[in-house]
């Protein structure tokens, strides 16, 4: 009993000391607290990575009815809108695109061009802007 008591005392002492020392093992990292609840989020933010753009197409009064397939697509070729379109008709579309997209591709007959998205709008007119030579 006399021999056990010192050993027992040492064991208790050792446990007590190590318990009081914070152990930072390599795979233990301090828990990070989310800051989401403190974030200042603007009203109206829709928490989506898409945006809605307006595509405005101005028709041309034609002499005869001209119909072709009109296609609006994005850079990877994905068609967002495709329909048989009368060239004399104007068209206003709302399309959803990924928020990182800043241009769309317009195809109608032999016209195949990129329309920049400016202030949420992409535009095309079948009536051209003439140069002085035309």
């Amino acid at each position: 009993m006399k021999k056990i008591t010192p050993i027992l005392f040492l064991i208790i002492l050792a446990v007590t000391v190590t318990a009081c020392i914070k152990q930072n093992f390599p795979d233990q990292k301090p828990e990070t607290k989310s800051k989401l609840e403190d974030a200042k989020i603007p009203d109206g933010f829709n928490w989506s990575t898409a945006k809605t753009i307006d595509v405005v197409i101005t028709g041309l009064p034609t002499i005869i009815t001209i119909k072709n397939t009109l296609t609006i697509s994005i850079s990877d070729g994905t068609k967002l809108y495709t329909a048989l379109h009368d060239m004399s008709q104007s068209l206003n579309l709302k399309l959803s695109v990924p928020s990182t997209i800043n241009e769309v591709r317009f195809k109608y007959g032999s016209t195949d061009k990129v329309l920049p998205i400016v202030n949420g709008k992409a535009e095309h007119s079948f009536i051209p802007v003439l140069t002085d030579e035309e």
Binding site: T32, S34, K35, L36, E37, A39, K40, I41, P42, D43, G44, F45, N46, W47, S48, T49, A50, K51, T52, L60, P61, T62, I63, I64, T65, I66, K67, N68, T69, I74, D76, G77, T78, K79, L80, Y81, T82, A83, L84, M87, L91, L93, K94, L95, S96, P98, S99, T100, Y108, G109, S110, T111, F126, I127, P128, V129, L130, E133, E134
Partner: protein, 494 residues
């Protein structure tokens, strides 16, 4: 304003019906660009509305200085046409400027030459009429120029050109009311090349030629469009503790989506093929999932196939029963479709829990079935952009407890009494829905697809720029979800 004397015909690429019998040019559009777009050509010619210069109507043509005897210095040229018979008529008058230099006009025809694309398929002009003005005669002259017999009633194509020539000086010529007997045969949608002499093939006769028709042998279908892309899936991620805040791990329900919309030649929606991938549900609740098409009535749907509404009643046409807006329950209970593995929370949100293969679902919404529209009428593709898709979950089988994307309207079966309770600051009067007072959501939509965070790890702990993105209303770090250096904390991502 004098009457615009244009004969309007109808051209279908599958059949020819009526063509224009004469081509007229009277400048009454007031915008030469319209005539140019319709394949008229001009050189040294503009439109004038000045009273002293007009011959009739509100506008006439005015030449520039006629300082050349070249046919191509100042002219009006028709589109490609099949020339008729009779006379070409038009009116001109000299500008009222004293001048003794010679001025005149020449009328020529230009044959179509398929072997000469460099000249716009035009052969050299052949002059068949010459007129030299009597100088200082400023009266209106009415011209009636016989069409040469050699090109009358042509089956091949020509342009007719009226050229204004002169020795120089400041004198100009006004002209108006051109009439060219014949048939318009140009295509303003194809660089003003001629219309095809043989109509392109349209096997199913729906008006869309085969080369543009994705269903060339099916008259009830024509085109496909996709969202987000033909092959890419977007991701919807929900918190199910609404109206109370959760842990913002946005993995209580995680569903990938892809839509293919099939339309017919008229642009009306035939069907939507909706592909869903059930990826995870870190939840104790048995949550359902569905979506509405805002602004689209339920009776514009013919049939729904492939969904699993379970305990939620369906109408005869497959939409959810009791909804006036077309609403679809994809499934009523996530775990009935994708059972839990038995350990851990839910399925596929804890790395140490068994992984369960995601479940694919394919749901088809038929609008027009076998060419027959539904009782409510057709839906045009222009009415169906992604912004009308209103996604929601139904929490733990309680039908009235819906969770939508921010500011999206609850369905008719939602319990409106839950709005504005707990942490929810919805206010229907201001169209504010499903936001906390600090504008935090219970659902997010990543159209590019994304990897969700592990159980109980707030999304901003996994994505280092998520808060910057949201705080800037999407301006900063619009690509926060991407696996770029420094963007992610992979320990927190499943």
């Amino acid at each position: 304003m004098k009457k615009i004397s244009l004969f309007l015909g109808i051209v279908l690429f599958s059949s020819v019906t009526v063509y224009s019998q004469q081509l007229t040019l009277n400048a009454e559009s007031g915008n030469r660009a319209i005539e140019v777009a319709n394949c008229w050509q001009f050189a040294g010619q503009t439109y004038t509305s000045a009273a002293s210069e007009r011959i009739s109507g509100s506008f006439s043509l005015i030449s520039g200085q006629m300082n050349s005897f070249s046919l191509t210095n100042s002219y009006v040229k028709t589109p490609w046409m099949k020339v008729g018979a009779g006379n070409i008529t038009f009116q001109t008058k000299l500008g009222n400027q004293p001048s003794t230099v010679a001025r005149g006009l020449r009328v020529s025809y230009i044959a179509y030459n398929a072997a000469s694309p460099s000249t716009g398929f035009e052969s050299s002009p052949v002059v068949f009429y010459t007129y030299d003005y009597t100088l200082l005669d400023f009266n209106v002259i009415n011209f009636s120029v016989p069409i040469p017999v050699s090109i009358q009633n042509s089956t091949t194509l020509y342009k007719i050109m009226v050229s204004y020539v002169g020795q120089g000086g400041s004198g100009k010529v006004f002209s108006d009311n051109y009439v060219f007997p014949g048939t318009y045969w140009s295509n303003p949608a194809n660089s003003c090349n001629p219309l095809p002499l043989v109509a392109p093939l349209d096997s199913d006769g729906d008006g869309v030629i085969d080369s543009e028709d994705e269903y060339p042998n099916d008259p009830t279908r024509a085109y496909n469009t996709y969202f987000p892309t033909q092959t890419q899936f977007g991701t919807l991620a929900f918190e199910d503790n609404w109206p109370t805040k959760g842990d913002y791990d946005f993995n209580d329900v995680v569903i990938d989506y892809n839509f293919k919309t099939v339309t017919n030649a008229a642009g009306n929606v035939v069907e939507i093929v909706s592909a869903f991938i059930l990826r995870a549900s870190g939840a104790n609740y048995n949550n359902g999932f569905g979506f509405s098409l805002d602004g689209i009535a339920s009776n514009k749907i013919s049939k729904v196939e492939g969904n699993s509404p379970g305990s939620f009643a369906s109408a005869v046409n497959g939409v959810e029963f009791g909804q006036t807006t077309a609403t679809f329950i994809v499934f009523d209970n996530y775990f009935r479709i994708m059972p839990k593995p038995g350990t851990g929370v839910g399925v596929n949100t804890e790395k140490l829990a068994p992984f369960v293969m995601p479940i694919n679902m394919l749901m088809t919404i038929k609008f027009i079935e076998n060419g027959t529209p539904p009782p409510g009428g057709v839906v045009h593709i222009s009415q169906l952009n992604q912004s009308v898709f209103n996604y929601f979950i139904v929490v733990n089988g309680t039908r009235g407890r819906e969770v939508h994307m921010p500011d999206r309207v609850p369905t008719a079966l939602a319990s409106m009494s839950l709005l504005g309770t707990g942490d929810d600051s919805s206010n229907p009067a201001t169209a504010r829905y499903y936001r906390t007072s600090g504008n935090l959501p219970w659902a997010i939509n990543i159209v590019q697809g994304y990897q969700y965070t592990i159980e109980r790890a707030s999304i901003d702990l996994g994505y280092n720029y998520f808060i910057e993105w949201a705080s800037s209303a999407g301006v900063l770090y619009p690509n926060w979800y991407m696996n770029l250096p420094g963007y992610r904390n992979s320990e927190k991502i499943y």
